[in-house]
Subunit: 445 residues, 2 copies
Amino acid sequence: MQITDVDVTDVRFPTSVTKDGSDAMNKDGDYSAVYVTLHTSGTAGAGSGNSAEGRLTGYGLTFTIGRGNDVVALAAEQIAARLVGVDVAAMAADMGGTYRRLTDDSQMRWLGPEKGAVHLALAAVMNAAWDLAGRFVGKPVWRMLADMTPEELVDVADMRYLADALTPDQAVQMLRAQEAGKAARIAQLEATGYPCYTTAAGWLGYSDEKMLRIIGEQAELGFGHVKLKVGGNLEDDLRRCALAREAIGPEGTLMIDANQVWDVPTAIDWITQLEPFGLHWVEEPTSPDDILGHRAIKEGIAPVKVATGEHCHNRVMFKQFLAAGAMDFCQLDAGRLASLNEIVAVLLLAARFDVPVCPHAGGVGLCEMVQHASMLDFVAISGTREGRLTEYVDHLHEHFAHPVRVAGGAYQVTGEPGYNTEMLPASVAEFRFPDGPYWSGRHVG
Amino acid sequence: MQITDVDVTDVRFPTSVTKDGSDAMNKDGDYSAVYVTLHTSGTAGAGSGNSAEGRLTGYGLTFTIGRGNDVVALAAEQIAARLVGVDVAAMAADMGGTYRRLTDDSQMRWLGPEKGAVHLALAAVMNAAWDLAGRFVGKPVWRMLADMTPEELVDVADMRYLADALTPDQAVQMLRAQEAGKAARIAQLEATGYPCYTTAAGWLGYSDEKMLRIIGEQAELGFGHVKLKVGGNLEDDLRRCALAREAIGPEGTLMIDANQVWDVPTAIDWITQLEPFGLHWVEEPTSPDDILGHRAIKEGIAPVKVATGEHCHNRVMFKQFLAAGAMDFCQLDAGRLASLNEIVAVLLLAARFDVPVCPHAGGVGLCEMVQHASMLDFVAISGTREGRLTEYVDHLHEHFAHPVRVAGGAYQVTGEPGYNTEMLPASVAEFRFPDGPYWSGRHVG
């Protein structure tokens, strides 16, 4: 069975209309996906949970917020073309080699290296390859990875440039130490899921009334955490933090997210003024590239902690953030890192430096993907859910064939083979940019 | 006079055929340019040195090494479109504001931020805007910038996220301190040029004989420095370093360039074995994102020094490399940083931390551009050429309307208004990808 053909589609949802997802840096995002489909010559086996017509197909995506989605799509087309002709069984048995072959393009590497549009594109393509591999072996990808030996899992991980912090041999030792409790943790996970928090209430474009109403609704659903977007205007932030703290009470957990709007001294000043409201963490206080700046902020705002990572573009950056003690919470992103190959490396690094991984999610399909990273981390890598929370945002799930299932403030194991990244054909058709009915009707003339 | 129209062209030169530019990471680059043309409604004034038909036009580019050039071109088209309708006089008088308006696209920002394809594209567009501005005021861009007041020059510089290392006020003070000697340095520069070294001999794909022949030729042209690409194979590197050292004698300056192939411990081992040949610097020993890794290498290989920067993607990375003492030589790149707006910020940071700037060049048009950065640095910012060398590679200059002029091992002031970035129409037509005669004839069928 071979990969016969690839499709790359530019899909954009008009979220700027409702201000869902608005923050101090990203005022009017149209949540978008570069959506990759890998067609094969073969039909699905019994356990492979494949779509309608029975052909085995892989679906993957990366997330952007609108303009530029076509730039990533163009890069993804060129990367995905290299998968045509690949044998699916051989690929599923060697996902490390598959990743290394796709990254071995010295010309395209110049556009990064390992960052920006080409890295997002690689993520979209490899995410589809992982979905296909999971369907082929009939397992969710977290379970496919958790069932690997330590050596196999380290071979999947992109360990290049990491040896000064963690060698492959050291990684194998770490994984071996977690082998004993794995079966028990899988049972725990299947029983209780993986804890999450929601950003639903806190978008900057929401009125105070809307924010408070959603906080109330979320509390009823079992969410004890509230995250507010800040950084537009200090007076607004003071008022919103006070209202939110009052709503959740002294025991509730309040986080803030500045989406990179501050420089280092401004961040320290601003956060210090919000600190009396009892902040668990501040997220993205400054440029995501500023490792040493984050460390200075962390030292300047203690006991408030620093969370970052959704724009941290590769494992080499995470290595430094973690080794330098510049992040208290590691918010890796499943659309920005180059798929599970790079995510596994970051999970290993975070475990090595004992930093909790609390993945970034929301967007389009990020929740669907990061649940796999968190579940794998608990079962096989860090071995704990203690102090960990995966982000959850309740929007755009209706476009997915197998969306996340959240109950009691936790992602529940769904058991679908693959990566939960298949979108509904009707959604893809409607919101395809620029020629789908939504966009072509909207931009008449 | 307004900008009426923009063209973006994908131009690729088939350098992979001759192995010009080959190194351990980049084995078969086809040196390419995303070439931006800004057309205007007005004609050139007397001193504006404009092209044939008399219409004032701006030309700019960024450099890639082949595949993916179209990805950057697509992003550049979208960014450049925002310049249509802009008044040229107003733009030339406010290049800081022009830059800030082009970077203020919160949707496209997600693809970086400030890195990868969108940042390369921004560089191409703003480089064209600088060329147009220089032609409009009738000055080479280095001179246009050198003639600004300290306040004007700092307003041009992108100082965002830099306050913990250098505030705008501190930058103004630094520039004021250099005002007194400026006229004398301009005279010195016009008399003697700016010193450079050449990488012509050292490409990894060259035979020993070709390497030695070119070293001899370059010595006759006044170049006392040799830089060799290394990192493919240790035995080859030992032999080539020995041959080169013998050819240039004990007084010659030998540098090596690993183009990112090593991890931190491997870099330290490998360089230590080459150290007996007397190395001035090692360039790009590991991932360009690895600030702390570069610092560890620097400590591990002293007295050999570390040079890096051609893949350092923005001023926030340079801030950290410089503040952390992780680079001994700052090799900024005029196609990767977002034009002179970001270059001026990096020049200020380098001066603040007293690190010599030795720009990366070669490629397509990089020499033409970086001479302006180095000249500006000497005249207005660091105030010295001591210990500085700008890279020079003698290829592809024949495609430029006003190529660099190198004599006696130094870039000579040419005096052409603009940024020297105009390519010959015949070259652009011949090597346009994929439909120019060269490429369409080559890939028949």
